[in-house]
C-alpha cells in the first residue's frame, strides 16, 4: 500500500528552500550596492525582474533553445545511452567493446565538438541536437549500465528457480533495480542538455536562441540586466526540467531505500 502524502508536511518541506530563497534575494537586493558591487557586474533582482518582460524575443528564444535543441538532444542521448547499456548488460562483448570508449568520448569537452558539429551540420538546431545527444549519451550509459548490473546474484538465482525467462527477469528485476541509477543519469542530463544547447549556440546559430542572446548581450557593455534576465530564464527552464524528472522518479521508485522512512 502506497503512503498518501499529507499536505501539511509537504508545506513544511517546502518552507526551508523558500526561506533560503527569500534570504538570498534580500541580501542580493539590499546588500550588494553598499558592499561596492557595481551595477555593470551584477544587477539587483528587482532590476532583473523589471527587465524580463521588456525583452520581447526572450519567449521565442527560450522555447527554441529548450524545445527544439535541448529536449530532442536530451531524449535522443538518454534513449541511446539506455539502449547501449541494455546491450552491454546482455552481450558481454558489447560491454567490453564500448565501455572503454565511454571514457574516451566522455573526456572530449563539448566545446571542442561544437565547432565540428556546426561545420558539419550547419548553424541551425540540428548541430545543437547533435552536441546535446553526444554529451547526454555517456552519463546515461554509465549510470544505466551500473544499475542494470547492480542486481543481487541471489535475486537472479531466485528468478531462475522460478523458471523466469530472460525477458521476465529483465522487466521484473533488472529494470526496476536500474531505475534509481537511471534517474541519477537523467538528472545530470537535464542540466547538461541546457548547457550544451546554450554553449553550442555561442559557436553558431541562426541569430536567435537563448545562447545566442546571452553571448550577444555578454559582448555588449552595459547590458548586464539583459544578460542576467536571459540567464534567469535559462535557470528557470533547467529547474523545471529537473523537477519533472524528480516527480517521475518519485512515482516510479517509491520503493527505493532512499525514500523509505527510518534512514
Amino acid at each position: 500500500m502506497s503512503e498518501r502524502v499529507n499536505p501539511l508536511p509537504l508545506m513544511l518541506r517546502a518552507l526551508p528552500p523558500v526561506v533560503v530563497f527569500v534570504l538570498i534575494l534580500l541580501i542580493w537586493e539590499f546588500a550588494i550596492r553598499p558592499l561596492g558591487v557595481p551595477e555593470y557586474s551584477l544587477p539587483t533582482p528587482s532590476k532583473i525582474v523589471q527587465t524580463i518582460p521588456t525583452i520581447g524575443e526572450l519567449t521565442h528564444d527560450a522555447a527554441y533553445t529548450a524545445l527544439q535543441e535541448a529536449l530532442p538532444g536530451f531524449l535522443l542521448g538518454s534513449a541511446l545511452g539506455f539502449l547501449f547499456a541494455i546491450a552491454a548488460t546482455f552481450i558481454r562483448i558489447v560491454a567490453k567493446g564500448i565501455m572503454p570508449y565511454a571514457v574516451v568520448s566522455n573526456s572530449i569537452p563539448i566545446i571542442a565538438m561544437a565547432p565540428v558539429a556546426i561545420a558539419v551540420f550547419g548553424s541551425d538546431w540540428q548541430s545543437k541536437v547533435a552536441i546535446v545527444t553526444v554529451i547526454t549519451f555517456f552519463p546515461m550509459l554509465v549510470n544505466a549500465y551500473r544499475g542494470l548490473i547492480s542486481v543481487d546474484p541471489l535475486s537472479l538465482q531466485l528468478m531462475r528457480s522460478y523458471a523466469a525467462g530472460g525477458w521476465t527477469t529483465f522487466f521484473k528485476l533488472r529494470l526496476p533495480a536500474s531505475l534509481p541509477y537511471v534517474f541519477n543519469g537523467l538528472k545530470i542530463n537535464t542540466t547538461l542538455a541546457m548547457i550544451g544547447a546554450i554553449i553550442g549556440e555561442y559557436f553558431g546559430s541562426p541569430a536567435y536562441g537563448l545562447g545566442f542572446y546571452i553571448h550577444y548581450q555578454g559582448g555588449e557593455s552595459g547590458h548586464t540586466p539583459e544578460l542576467w534576465s536571459a540567464v534567469t530564464i535559462a535557470c528557470a527552464i533547467g529547474i523545471t526540467a529537473y523537477m519533472v524528472v524528480v516527480i517521475l522518479e518519485r512515482l516510479l521508485t517509491f520503493w527505493h531505500i532512499s525514500y523509505r522512512s527510518g534512514r
Binding site: 526551508p16 528552500p17 562483448i93 573526456s107 566545446i111
Partner: protein
C-alpha cells in the same frame, strides 16, 4: 568427469580433489587469453569507429568541395572514386582523416615540452587547472553531501540551489567571476570546480542514503556509535555511488577548465588552442587538440578508476 578435464598440459584427473583443481584451472583461462578476451572487443569497436571516421571525412569533404564557388581545377571531370580520393587527401579538410589528425598530433608531441606555445605546454596548463579544480570540486561536493546528510532541513533548503546553480550556463558566469577574482588561473580553477561538484554532491548524497535499514538495525544492536556507523557502514556503502559521481566530475572539471579558457582571455591552454584553430579554420590542428584533450581526460579518469579499484577491493576484503 574425465572428459571434462583437458587432455594436454594439465595433470590427469585422479582423486576428487585433483578433479576439482583441474576444473578450476580450466575455468580460469591463461593470462594471455584473458587479455585477448578484453582487447578484441575494444579493437573491433575501434575498427568500426575508424571506418565511420574515414567515411564521414570522405562524405563531408566531398560535399564541401562540391559546394565551393570556385572548385579545384578539373573537379567536374573527376570520377566519383577520384573525388573521394581528393576528399581524403585535401590539405584544407572540413573533417580531417584519422591519419591527418594523428600525424599532426604526434608531430606536435615531438616538440620540446618546456618550450612556450607548444601543445605540451597547453596540455600541462589545462591539466593542472583541471586537477586543482577537480580536487576543490570534490572537497566541496563531498562536504555538501555530508552537510545535507547531517541536516535534513539543510538538504531540503539547499539541494534546489545546488541544482539551480548548475543550470546557469557556465560561460555567462565567467565574466562576473573574472571581475571579482581577477584574470588568470584562479578563476579558471573556480569554474572547473564549479562544474565538477554537482554530480559528486548528488551521487554521494544518494549513496550515503542507500544503506539497508536492516544493516542499521544490526549496527545498533552491536551498540555501534554514530561515528562507527558512519565509517563502517554508511561511507563504504556510498563508495560505488560516489565514484560514479567522481568519474563524471573529473570529466566535468576538464570541460570546466577548457570552457574557462574561452572567456578568461588566457593565452595558454587547450581551450585557447581550440579557439585559435577554429577561428583560423585550421581543422587539422583543431582535431589534434581534441585528441590531446581526450588524452588528458583519459589519464585523469584512469587515475580515478585505479583509486576506485583499490578502495572497493579493500571494502570487499573487510566484509569477507
Amino acid at each position: 568427469m574425465a572428459e571434462l578435464a583437458p587432455s594436454d598440459g594439465y595433470p590427469a584427473a585422479g582423486s576428487g580433489d585433483s578433479v576439482l583443481a583441474t576444473l578450476e584451472q580450466a575455468a580460469t583461462p591463461p593470462l594471455v587469453r584473458r587479455w585477448l578476451d578484453n582487447l578484441v572487443p575494444v579493437l573491433i569497436v575501434l575498427v568500426i569507429l575508424i571506418a565511420v571516421w574515414y567515411a564521414s571525412s570522405a562524405y563531408f569533404n566531398l560535399q564541401n568541395l562540391d559546394s565551393l564557388v570556385v572548385p579545384p581545377p578539373g573537379w567536374q571531370k573527376l570520377s566519383l572514386l577520384e573525388k573521394i580520393h581528393r576528399s581524403l587527401t585535401t590539405d584544407q579538410p572540413l573533417v580531417p582523416t584519422p591519419n591527418q589528425t594523428f600525424s599532426d598530433f604526434f608531430n606536435d608531441l615531438k616538440q620540446s615540452p618546456t618550450a612556450d606555445g607548444t601543445l605540451w605546454s597547453d596540455i600541462f596548463w589545462t591539466g593542472q587547472v583541471a586537477v586543482l579544480g577537480f580536487l576543490l570540486g570534490s572537497v566541496i561536493g563531498i562536504a555538501l553531501a555530508l552537510l545535507f546528510l547531517s541536516s535534513r532541513i539543510l538538504a531540503q533548503a539547499l539541494m534546489p540551489y545546488v541544482v539551480a546553480s548548475q543550470t546557469v550556463p557556465i560561460i555567462a558566469l565567467v565574466p562576473p567571476l573574472i571581475v571579482t577574482i581577477g584574470l588568470g588561473i584562479r578563476s579558471e580553477i573556480l569554474v572547473s570546480a564549479y562544474l565538477a561538484f554537482f554530480s559528486i554532491t548528488i551521487s554521494t548524497y544518494k549513496g550515503l542514503q542507500s544503506v539497508e535499514p536492516l544493516a542499521f538495525d544490526l549496527m545498533r544492536s552491536y551498540a555501534a556509535s554514530r561515528r562507527q556507523i558512519f565509517t563502517k557502514l554508511r561511507l563504504p556503502a556510498s563508495l560505488p555511488f560516489m565514484f560514479t559521481g567522481l568519474k563524471i566530475g573529473v570529466t566535468a572539471s576538464l570541460i570546466g577548465a577548457v570552457v574557462a579558457e574561452l572567456s578568461s582571455g588566457s593565452s595558454h591552454g587547450l581551450g585557447q588552442r581550440l579557439v585559435t584553430t577554429t577561428t583560423d579554420g585550421l581543422y587539422i590542428p583543431l582535431w589534434s587538440t581534441i585528441v590531446a584533450t581526450a588524452c588528458v581526460g583519459l589519464i585523469l579518469y584512469g587515475a580515478l578508476v585505479a583509486l576506485e579499484k583499490a578502495l572497493v577491493r579493500q571494502r570487499v576484503e573487510a566484509t569477507a
